[in-house]
């Protein structure tokens, strides 16, 4: 009988993961903080051509890029003279399971099939579960999805309940847990019991699968407007969609395109708190994942996370819940597109950016997702009212209060963003390294790695290290 206590299972983590992912991460790691990211992506991941071939086998990708003509007219109407960029949206909802996550699942499931695994497991409360289930169905593999879904009174997040329904519709077994980071612990228990492949969101396979998204955006924008996008706005949570999209854009030659992250502002709510769990009306794409994963990507379920958002992020913008509900309504009413919350977070930020950018600029929002029961603003806001939230029209930024109040704008010109200073984010990254590795002294190679990992200069990293009480030593 295996010992299933939390500590016993966590102590077996490395051997379980080795079997379940089949990647020898040691090869790429040269010290506790330094590893060769690009080599890992090249040797373990799949080439872009191979990714596109794998995805065409299961009907993934090649989604339309749509100009939001009515919304762009609205922007021109309310923007200052000479301002008002054009927004295009990548309609990823047209993928088999209704989101870009099909790209992220496709390569992992292909890899699992090729290596003789009988099934796949993924720990996800989001669209990724449906994507893994759908890809597994297509390739004849079994699938288990583990979700963090309920608070202790069995009150479930409608959005997550819908995703469970979707997974079951594709024939997956859905294991639903109450609030807590032990979702990872129980996923390990199941990986050990079944011998299935871990279709983690954070392997090189998962990220390689998203590169086709960035590549298509570059190609389609060039075709439609004769240049690469000036900016791509990307909803940011765990960092995978940002990393993969940015890598794909670069591979297509769109190296000048600005990569702008957007998260829903839920600062002040604790992600592992049973009480706070049902006080958020976005289950992903928010600061509760966005900030921790940007500043310490290796909190994921694999030894080295292939999603490293700070390597590619040029700006980080926050929007409020009320603004995203408003923009979701705008997309349906003006563009005839009912889409789920994910891409609408970045669309809200893109709208605010478009108002201040020149009118010859082009912004691409890189995803939409399917919507329906549990996922629509009507479902989420009905749930919010039931949980005692105040919902009102007003100033969506000034009056916003996560966990207490949701404020729907009264006019589109009120849509704005809160700019998160990138150097603050980078400094938090250094702070996390100091804390997690209990490390005060850094040699030149370590400084260099951190500079690469956060896309900045070694001088800046040295400055942060010193400000945080560390020092630089001769190696």
């Amino acid at each position: 009988m295996r010992d299933l206590s939390y500590d016993a299972v966590m102590s077996r983590k490395n051997e379980i993961m080795k079997k379940a992912v089949g990647i020898d991460y040691e090869k790429f790691i040269s010290s506790e903080i330094i590893f060769d990211y690009e080599r890992m992506m090249q040797e373990v991941g799949y080439s872009l051509d191979k990714v596109r071939e794998i995805q065409s086998e299961t009907g993934v990708g090649n989604t339309p890029l749509v100009e939001l003509k009515q919304i762009n007219r609205l922007i021109k109407k309310i923007a200052p003279k000479g301002k008002g960029a054009r927004i295009f949206i990548k309609d990823e909802a047209t993928n088999p399971s209704g989101s870009y996550k099909d790209r992220r699942a496709s390569v992992s499931v292909y890899h699992a099939q090729k290596h003789g695994y009988k099934g796949v497991i993924a720990a996800t409360s989001g669209n990724y579960g449906a994507a893994v289930a759908s890809q597994a169905a297509k390739r004849g593999l079994k699938c288990i999805i583990t979700q963090e879904c309920y608070d202790n009174r069995w009150v479930g997040q409608p959005e997550i309940l819908e995703k469970a329904r979707s997974c079951e519709a594709y024939g997956a077994e859905v294991v639903q847990l109450t609030v807590g980071p032990e979702l990872f612990y129980y996923t390990l228990v199941l990986l050990e019991e079944t011998g299935f492949f871990n279709a983690s969101l954070y392997t090189p396979y998962a990220i390689a699968g998203v590169e086709s998204l960035g590549y298509e955006i570059a190609e389609q924008t060039m075709q439609m407007v004769g240049k690469y996008p000036d900016a791509v706005v990307i909803t940011h949570a765990g960092g995978g969609i940002l990393t993969g999209t940015a890598r794909g854009l670069k591979k297509a030659g769109a190296s000048e395109t600005k990569i702008i992250a957007a998260s829903v502002n839920l600062r002040g709510l604790h992600m592992a708190s049973d009480n706070d769990f049902n006080k958020k009306y976005f289950t992903t794409g928010h600061t509760g994942f966005g900030i921790p994963f940007a500043t310490f990507p290796d909190r994921s379920d694999v030894p080295k996370n292939a999603a490293r958002a700070l390597r590619y992020m040029d700006r980080y913008l926050l929007v409020t819940q009320g603004e995203v509900f408003y923009i979701t309504e705008m997309l349906a009413q003006l563009e005839g597109m009912q889409r789920g919350p994910a891409g609408n977070t970045s669309l809200a930020a893109a709208f605010a950016l478009a108002l201040e950018m020149d009118d010859d600029k082009v912004i691409v929002v890189n995803e939409t997702e399917y919507t329906g029961a549990g996922k629509l603003p009507s479902a989420q806001l009905t749930f919010a009212r039931k949980m005692g939230m105040e919902i009102k029209r007003g100033d969506p930024i000034k009056e916003d209060l996560p966990g207490k109040r949701i404020v729907i704008p009264e006019h589109p010109s009120q849509i704005g963003y809160i700019e998160f200073d990138m150097d603050e984010v980078r400094k938090s990254y250094v702070k996390e390294v100091i804390k997690r590795y209990n490390k005060k002294e850094f040699n030149k190679q370590e400084i260099e790695f951190m500079a690469q990992d956060t896309n900045t200069t070694t001088e800046k990293i040295v400055k942060f290290v010193k400000e945080l009480g560390g020092e630089v030593i001769e190696a």
Partner: protein, 102 residues
């Protein structure tokens, strides 16, 4: 209400008691157990809500736990109409038609 062998049911299982949750947790989460729910086909001849039963999941795993629902309903829905959202489309079209102060 009795469930019979082969019925689609939902079971519940306690995974970790509060004192067994040794991961770093906020105070409120520390006080409550980690629980699980999963669905499958009942393997016992018959059972009542609250009984310890065995199920066969959609992928053929055998799991035991307490029976909590028979033919469990998907309870999430489209919600109620939201007054704060209902007029947004009308307002935006007014602006498009030239009335900036809509």
């Amino acid at each position: 209400m009795k469930a019979k062998k082969g019925d689609w049911v939902q079971i519940e299982k306690l995974l970790l008691k509060p004192e067994e949750r040794t991961a770093p947790l906020p105070e409120d989460t520390k006080k409550v157990p980690l629980k699980m729910r999963v669905k499958g086909f009942l393997q016992n001849e018959d059972a009542n809500i609250g009984d310890e039963v065995e199920i066969l999941t959609l992928i053929g795993r055998r799991v035991t736990g307490t029976l909590v629902a028979i033919n469990p309903k998907y309870e999430h829905d489209f919600g109620e109409p939201v007054p704060e959202l209902l007029t947004i489309g009308i307002e935006l079209r007014k602006i498009l038609e030239g009335d900036n102060d809509a």
